[in-house]
């Protein structure tokens, strides 16, 4: 299988992470991640946010859509402790916390992520969380969320 080979440092083969494949509709999101900003697609006509990004606003059918920086704050809607890996890259990373966060910009604007800088015991629904960018691999940085400092 196509695991990466760290030929230069001579270590054993380490699995590559699953990498996003940006396209014309999603490129803004990954550009934002590279610059340390969480950007969510927003309809420039009616103002609704859309995630996952699409080519049409499902609220007003406008195609005038653009990625906009959001605050990166939200509340924890739910979570699960992943104890079984479904990708070779994650085999040595279990357990980890998969979570869905409701972003503060709009009710019902949900963002699926991982939680970091916390333990299972810290978690409760509705707790304030904020984005933090985590480099999992030289080729993959992701927007994870963590409890807002001092408010847990």
């Amino acid at each position: 299988m196509s695991t990466s080979t760290s030929a230069t440092d001579g270590t054993a083969e380490a699995p590559l992470p699953p990498l996003p494949q940006p396209d014309a509709v999603t490129q803004f999101f990954w550009d934002g991640v590279a610059e340390g900003e969480l950007r969510i697609q927003r309809c420039q006509s009616c103002g609704h946010y859309l995630h996952y990004p699409k080519v049409l606003c499902r609220y007003c059918q406008s195609d005038d859509l653009a990625g906009e920086r959001v605050s990166g704050r939200g509340t924890l809607y739910t979570w699960t402790i992943a104890v079984q890996p479904f990708h070779p890259f994650y085999v040595d990373r279990i357990p980890y916390i998969v979570a869905t966060v409701e972003l503060e910009e709009e009710p019902g604007l949900m963002f699926m992520t991982q939680l970091t800088d916390c333990t299972e015991e810290d978690l409760r629904i509705g707790m304030p969380v904020e984005v933090t960018f985590v480099e999992l691999h030289p080729e993959l940085t992701l927007p994870f969320f963590r409890p807002v400092q001092g408010r847990t």
């Binding site: 590559l16 699953p18 996003p20 494949q21 995630h51 699926m112």
Partner: protein, 386 residues
């Protein structure tokens, strides 16, 4: 009955040889299930003029089986499994599009996740998905998500937090279902279990345990529907479709649903009750999709058998156990009979209303409801003794 069109009945039901890694092809399962349903009904291939399937291509199946002419067919891809086939077939007969239709769900067991992460080699069917996640999946797979057990874990966690339910509450349901399976010779798991067994089962995505998950198998399931008039001349006691419903509330992204407690079953249940003068109090047995335990809880509440957040207590009090006020999943559910993606619930409902469920028969059963799926989409039907 308030449903429009011709009255529809269940004519025959059947399964293929179901099991783990049967070595049989998808076609083998489709053919075996079809023959079993035909034999059950007393019909022959020449009586069938409509076909629908999730898991196989109905026109190819029709040609293979010798169904000709095909007056109606439907293929389900992004659909709530067997309940899509069934509700489409019912609607096609009710409307007069065709007279006798077979509804299929055929499943070839997927490669296990452990085989996947161990890297089964470049010929592994999912290898191409492993390293580049495109489209919506670019926001899911890199995050270590994308398995159904993870959204199910999140649905379960949210429910527990919102209503104060506990892991034992799901255990009560799992233990009850296994008790029912112990009376079903066709179930794969038949040994009764205890709460301790449940609580010592491994997590797959905490709080979801392995015993909360349906059991992956190769299976073929078939149900033949026809008009009430024709059904009255056939081999089996008549079972009628009282009401049916199918709905979707979004695309297939469970993990970003803004309400993970009230999902598609709410709308399906509303439509089901709008299609009949019956009420939840009239239902003698319910066969509710148990791809994960939390789904049964959602259906119990959506259908109005108990209030919001009350499913845990409803199960704990023994209502869903055989002999209780509403025996649920009397065949043992998909956790114990193996994955049929909804078909077993229709088939067990039919058998209960015919009085053919043997040791697990609900005495005097006249009304049954069966359902399938959760989250973005769902469907189901209310059946009555004819």
């Amino acid at each position: 009955m308030a449903t429009a069109g011709r009255r529809v009945a269940v004519a025959g039901v059947g399964y293929s040889h179901v099991g783990r890694n049967t070595g049989l092809s998808i076609d083998d399962h489709m053919i075996a299930a079809t023959k079993a349903a035909l034999a059950d009904s007393g019909l022959s291939v020449s009586d069938i003029d409509g076909i629908t399937s999730v898991g196989t291509e109905p026109l190819l199946d029709a040609w293979l089986l010798g169904i000709e002419p095909v007056n109606w067919w439907a293929s389900g891809m992004m659909a709530p499994a067997f309940s899509y086939s069934a509700t489409q077939a019912i609607a096609a007969i009710a409307s007069g599009f065709c007279d006798t239709a077979i509804a299929l769900r055929v499943i070839g067991q997927q490669p296990s996740s452990s085989a996947l992460v161990k890297g089964a080699g470049s010929n592994h069917p999912m290898t191409s998905m492993l390293h580049r996640a495109a489209g919506d999946r670019q926001f899911i797979v890199p995050f270590g998500a994308g398995s159904p057990v993870q959204w199910a874990g999140m649905f379960t966690q949210r429910y527990m937090q919102q209503y104060g339910a506990t892991e034992e509450d799901f255990g009560n349901h799992v233990v009850t279902q296994r008790y029912h399976a112990s009376m079903n010779d066709d179930a794969i798991f038949r040994d009764p279990i205890t709460m301790d067994d449940y609580l010592s089962a491994r997590y797959v995505s905490k709080p979801l345990r392995i015993l909360d998950c349906d059991y992956p198998v190769d299976s073929g399931s078939a149900v033949i529907f026809t008009t009430e008039e024709r059904a009255r001349d056939l081999a089996q006691p008549v079972v009628l479709v009282e009401s049916y419903a199918l709905n979707a509330i979004r695309d297939l992204h469970f993990e970003v649903m803004s309400d993970m407690v009230h999902t598609a079953p709410v709308q399906t249940a509303k439509k089901l009750w709008e299609g009949t003068d019956l009420t939840p109090a009239d239902v003698d047995t319910a066969q509710l999709y148990d791809g994960f335990s939390i789904i049964v809880f959602q259906w119990l509440e959506a259908l109005g058998f108990c209030g919001d957040g009350e499913a845990a207590a409803f199960v704990r009090e023994g209502n869903t156990r055989l002999g209780g006020s509403l025996p649920v999943n009397t065949d043992g559910g998909a956790c114990n009979v193996g994955r049929r993606h909804g078909a077993n619930f229709c088939i067990e409902s039919t058998r209960q209303l015919r009085g053919q469920s043997g040791k697990r028969q609900v005495e005097g059963a006249e009304v049954a409801v069966w359902t399938n799926a959760v989250g973005p989409f769902a469907a189901g039907a209310i059946l009555t003794k004819g």
